[in-house]
Amino acid sequence: MEVLESGQGELIQPFDLDEFREWNRTRKTRKLVEKVMTEQEAIAQFVQDGCYIGTELYGTVRCPMSLAREVVRQGRKNLRVCGQGVLELDLWLAAGLVKKLDITYIGLEVYGTSSCLRRAVESGQVETCVEWSNAAISWRMKAAAMGVPFLPTRSMLGTDLLKYSAAKVVQDPFTGLKVALLPALILDVALIHVHRADKFGNCQIDGISGFALEMARASKRLIVSTEQIIPTEEIRRAPDRTAIPYYLVDAVVHAPFGSHPGEMAYLYSRDEPAIKEWVETSKTADGAQDYLQTWVYGLPTHAVYLERVGQERLAQCVARRERRQA
């Protein structure tokens, strides 16, 4: 296949589809096995130093924040990360856990750029940034989810983004069109937060699915945190609602308010003061460390975290939630 142009970025997670097939054959049981465990157990068992890891959706929206904080607590190092991230990746950058990035966007949305990203990249602490667009990183996971080595796209062409990515430009042999080929992205481990799951890992998501379906299918290890654990009968009542089937899942963590301070559609709204606290404190390195001390290292579990947030604020988030059309 003649390559017209190659991005000079590093493929920071090389992949082998046959090895992924073998993994999926031998390391992922098809039996209905109970997988419920705590954040501590799940991160200890499945997240290793140096692994390639991703989170879904992002910091303020249906994000596995209780898992993200536990990664910080356990101090996993030299992580290679894809993102697309807001608070969750900021915490990891602030804690110095990240070595390489397949970066699409790390920022604070409404509140502007991420000081943690600036410090981590400009100081060289993050060694490598390989550039992608949001769609491109999702399509890379979709390629892995489909079990194919690449997907073509008409995005990214003609730009420095392509030049600093690891994509390749080829000519479509059917129509002669130039397209960018995006290499499959197989993650070592993914963290996804959902509305409901049974103890085996069958998951339901309400509202938009972001890139959960793609990431779940593109990962060797998948830790799911869930607002609620439901009986399998509920899954079997509506199999057309299963976004992530159990056989993809390695751990099910019961984490009510697991996306706090982000929102969870139809369940609770974002906690604006809590988000602003990070926005303000993270402007300086010291401030970010203080925040980590107060809100992460200093609180051993998600339950203790929620206690510190307090029932009143959580109740306000619930009261302000978006509701379905009556």
Partner: protein, 255 residues
């Protein structure tokens, strides 16, 4: 009745809102585009179809979304799928407009949101493309919203994150980008710009009230073409301001 007072941000929102075509699909990003989309849907574009990149299409924008994935982006929506669905819809030609921002913009409408300085040793690391490159690549027409100064309007961006017309006429198609797509307008703190169809270079189209051509040129790091007729953008109407202040952003998050 005297003209109401308004801020530069309010004016930009109004000028941007008036660009919306009724009955069009539009990718809406965080910030000013969300306010402009809400304002347009309450004024000249009641049939606007908002598309949010993480999956929401056809939402009714009753409250201002603060993030492109939050529940307000599919509030009473017509579909709520994922980012692949919306981006593939755009790739198929179903998204008419997209809004973009950036730290730098050049005469061809190329935008930079990745780095100031060199990529590998940046003076400033910016957030990255996000959905920006996809919007600029796949939507039919894009509108950039940029603060107007010499740091931002530069002859050459440090990093082409999002394609405008790249190096000029034919460059998008030569790169493989979809035929007939490209930048349409720039709304800045000083003026409204479009692009000359022959050279694909940015062109001053209409000044904000009280702004001169010289002032715009002095704040632009390259030669701005001038439209044959340079208009003046109408200031925000009383009704536009009422909607913005009372219905769209009553908490004054942006305005």
């Amino acid at each position: 009745m005297s003209a109401p007072n308004y801020s530069k941000t309010e004016l930009m929102i109004c000028v941007a809102a008036r660009l919306f075509e009724d009955g069009a699909t539009c990718f809406i990003g965080t910030g000013i585009p969300m306010l402009a989309a809400m304002l347009a849907s309450k004024t000249t574009a009641p049939n606007l179809v908002p598309v949010f990149e993480f999956g929401g299409t056809g939402a009714i924008l009753e409250e201002l979304p603060r993030a492109v994935g939050e529940a307000r982006t599919f509030h009473k929506g017509l579909s709520a799928l994922g980012i692949c669905d919306t981006m593939e819809s755009a790739q198929r030609g179903f998204v008419d407009y997209g809004f973009l921002g950036g730290a730098q913009i050049d005469p061809y409408g190329n935008l930079n949101t990745v780095v100031i300085g060199s990529h590998d040793q940046p003076r400033a690391r910016l957030p990255g493309s996000g959905g920006g490159n996809d919007v600029g690549s796949l939507c039919w027409r894009t509108i950039a919203i940029v603060q107007h100064d010499l740091r931002r309007f530069v002859p050459k961006v440090d990093f082409v994150t999002t394609p405008g017309y790249l190096t000029g006429p034919g460059a998008r198609e030569a790169a493989g980008l979809p035929r007939g797509s490209g930048p349409m307008a720039v709304v800045s703190t000083l003026a409204l710009m479009d692009y000359d169809p022959h050279t694909c270079r940015m062109r001053l189209k209409a000044l904000h009230p009280g702004v001169t051509v010289e002032e715009v040129q002095a704040n632009t790091g390259f030669d701005l073409l001038l439209a044959e007729q340079i208009g003046v953008n109408a200031p925000p109407s009383a009704e536009e301001l009422r909607l913005l202040r009372q219905e769209i952003d009553p908490e004054r998050l942006y305005i």
